[in-house]
Symmetry: C2
Amino acid sequence: MLDRIARSLLGSPLPTSEEVHHRLSKIQALAIFSSDALSSVAYAPEEIMLVLVLGGTTLLRLSLPIALCITTLLAIVATSYYQTIHGYPSGGGAYIVAYDNLGTWSGLIAAAALLIDYVLTVAVSITAGVAAITSAFPNLQSLAIPIALFAIMLIAWGNLRGIRESGTLFSIPSYAFIGLTLLLIITGLTRLLTGSLIHTPIPAVTDSAQPLAIMLILRAFASGTTALTGVEAISNGVMAFKKPEADNAGKTLIAMAFLLALMFIGIVFLTNQFGIVPGEHETIVSTLGRTVLGNGLLYLLFQGATAMILFLAANTSFAGFPRLAAILAKDRFLPRQLASVGDRLVFSNGILVLAVLAAALVVGFGGNPHRLIPLYAVGVFLSFTLSQAGMVRLWSHRRGKGWVWKACINGLGAITTGIVLLVITSTKFILGAWIVVVLIPILVGILYTIKQHYLRVAEQLTLKDLIPKKWSNLARAKRHKVIVPLSGLHRGSLEALRFARSLSKDVNAVVVDIDPEDTARIKELWPRWGGDVKLTILDSPYRSTIQPLLSYLDVIDQHEPERGLAVVVLPQFIPAKWWHTLLHNQTAKLFKRVLLYRRDLAGADRVLIDVPYHLHH
Amino acid sequence: MLDRIARSLLGSPLPTSEEVHHRLSKIQALAIFSSDALSSVAYAPEEIMLVLVLGGTTLLRLSLPIALCITTLLAIVATSYYQTIHGYPSGGGAYIVAYDNLGTWSGLIAAAALLIDYVLTVAVSITAGVAAITSAFPNLQSLAIPIALFAIMLIAWGNLRGIRESGTLFSIPSYAFIGLTLLLIITGLTRLLTGSLIHTPIPAVTDSAQPLAIMLILRAFASGTTALTGVEAISNGVMAFKKPEADNAGKTLIAMAFLLALMFIGIVFLTNQFGIVPGEHETIVSTLGRTVLGNGLLYLLFQGATAMILFLAANTSFAGFPRLAAILAKDRFLPRQLASVGDRLVFSNGILVLAVLAAALVVGFGGNPHRLIPLYAVGVFLSFTLSQAGMVRLWSHRRGKGWVWKACINGLGAITTGIVLLVITSTKFILGAWIVVVLIPILVGILYTIKQHYLRVAEQLTLKDLIPKKWSNLARAKRHKVIVPLSGLHRGSLEALRFARSLSKDVNAVVVDIDPEDTARIKELWPRWGGDVKLTILDSPYRSTIQPLLSYLDVIDQHEPERGLAVVVLPQFIPAKWWHTLLHNQTAKLFKRVLLYRRDLAGADRVLIDVPYHLHH
């Protein structure tokens, strides 16, 4: 039944042969890979202003220069990644680049940072998307968390079903957002020049007596760097481009960087001009939209496109996280279940893990993107830095044409992003960055421990030093000692006794004396049904079934060290309906578990045999 | 580890031989068995007033006559139970009496009513006890539910450890409550007569326009009957008395009935004299206590004793519910797990079930005793009626000395309590009694269905029509077909192959081709390690491990119908730590479950063999 529900929700299983890799045109790829980066203009400008507003009107005027700094940073990062694309045409995520070039530990740090980032991308994008919706419909404010959770569920469900990265469909929200944002900027500028909307000075905001303006400016800058999240996406997905892959990916990256810079500066400039400051219940982008586009259909379309591209950005994490988790699992740093491909040809376990973690973050942080942002940029810039540093190492090893120049560019990228990382971590530390700073080493430790476990298991299971023996040398030579614990004499127990008897002539039936009446009945029936099987009755002063059985097995181990394997045959009747199991003792199940985890006194493993007997109704 | 925690919380297991039955003196028995009945004077008077207050001042004056009616009812019920004690000296609970004399269905209805009542006794007593505390310390009002839940947890814990019905210790709160209540009544009367406290008329309460005064009076009466809850306790526990059991129990019952009547009428009379009406944040008994005893230590002692006897009343349910559940489970009307005696010689499962249900009720009804009361009396009077009717039937069957007289007394009891039951159900129906009216038939249905299930299982397992066969006729004659599914070639799988080979010469190893690399490696190693065991590779287009294995087993069933049992041997490596299992595929576990629940095509059961291989770290 569960199976049928799963089928109708997720569709029927797909055969492995249906796995095909669509190649994307530049137009499609831009839409798909840049939703994460471009959508960040929906929250990054606001994050800058939210910090500056603490410093009063004077500082608020600095938002444009800060935005220009961030754009410069963007140019550096984009150039660096342009080189990564050409250096790793098969797709160079930060984990791969760092692992290949800087070694295991750097790779694991990058992996930890990326895993955290994917979760944060979902949480931030979804909550920011919901903020776009509640800005337009303030009545929905109180439903923000349920809406966000529903969106996560929907996206997870789509990914479990296996929505392919279907270029055309996914292009719509991206291009709608790009188009409407550019329209907003052009209209805004035109109306400003024609005087149909006039420059409004930033309203006087009282200085909340923060003595360290420079600290605030740095923190505003740190907040604004969230605009750069997602810039690395194209370099991860080079293989999805049409040939020549690297060239096409490179061009797409440049186009994306230009669009991002344009939209980011445009929005910051206009909010400055129209004196828009962050409000409690509306995002500044929404206020700007209403100011410039009027409170009509166009505004609603703009808000809708904003929400859609943000949800799309969350969706990209649902491709990235499971893929990275699967790579890590194949490298044995994560549980192998994360590497198994589900019925619908997707890494289902990774999708579920991501959905649960993101939902927990959304609830834990009250569905508020502003509270999540301080955690966000740390991981992003850590992986930027490691990835760029890895590229420097790559070029200096390869020493191809112009390697010094290439290494310098990536070196500049590494140094710049490294400094930014320090700025972010220090200015945002108490606001939440500390959580990531604590989490990353823990996660690295977990990844490493898991790998060690798998290595130890492999070592213990290896056939390397073994010499094959003839089967005839084996346990056969000795006779197996077979024990059949019984709780009563019925058809199920007869089946078990028969099978036991077919294994060995040395069969012992054992009854634990819990209820004297039951025991007496078994004793009475035994001569008729027991055949040549010995019956042993065990006392149980503490009414436990399992303890006397274990002690009995220990005694056998000591008295008959020369026997073959110790085999326990368990009769087990199988109810017709699963809920019937609630009406029967689970002692047999518990006994099985205890036996499996407990070796015999001679240190040998005990073989456990289930003989089922099916009930019909 | 879990085991060690359990030990330190609950103490070490007790041997069955330590089960002793303490006999109680009358003085001890009165304290233990009457806490439920006597403690009801803490809430019953208030329940009467809470209804009458709706009818204004006129009706409030009727509380004393109503209390006198209830006392008469008490006399009738107590006399009836006096006879039950002598008719069932081994302890006659309503279930036993009804089942023995009126048949299965009446027995089940009584059982359902009793089970519900035990849960309600805990919920009502605990919340009323907490109300006694919060009346003295109004600051604790907002913590009422947590305090109630903590009290339930504490009592459940005590019972899981097995607090014996230790007469002396448990007598303290009961006699403290009796003593302080009598002191309160005597002081109240004295101060009234000496004029140190003067008669205060009931304050004018506006009639809330309830046209049907008679309906209100009946409802007030119905609420007041909760004073009778627990009167049956002594007749359930006759065997706990010192010899002559029935005589001592009878005398104790009479003493209890007198004390209850005295305290009940005394409290109602005094509240009337001092014009006390129910308040929002204080019980009337607390107000009365403060008025008569002053706001000092004596008052606090009185409130403390009230809370303690109420908690003690809840504690009696923790003896009664598990005992009844165990009787029902032995009669196969409830899951047999409820009949098993735990480590500490108590019915642990019943205690846990009761604690969870009572806690759910407390939370569900907002920790408010007034909202629970309408549900309470229905079950009590239903079991009174059935039990008395059963006694009539008993006397008319036995026809001993004076049987007509005895039957008449119990008949009067049955008729009276039956009428009261109708009054309660009709006047309280919409206030909550409907819940119990709906629940009882559902519960009866569940009890009956469980019994049917056990009967069907017994029928299918019985050896009755079987004729014992010689072991030599059995499966041995045919050869077993042994299948060993492998996921890889390692020490664990070698162990399994060896054991399989020791069972039969017809062994087939099966590998599902999920990862072509893994499969190729197994094929390559097979000649060296596989011996004479055949290796079969199964395709898996949908990447499922289990489906191809099941299909393969089906094919074998069809092609080799003449073979012996189909035996599946599963290699299973056992990690050193339980949490390591999270890092390994659970496919084997799932496959085992599917195999157990699925018979082969010939309709025979498949035997399942676990060959464990232990990892060391």
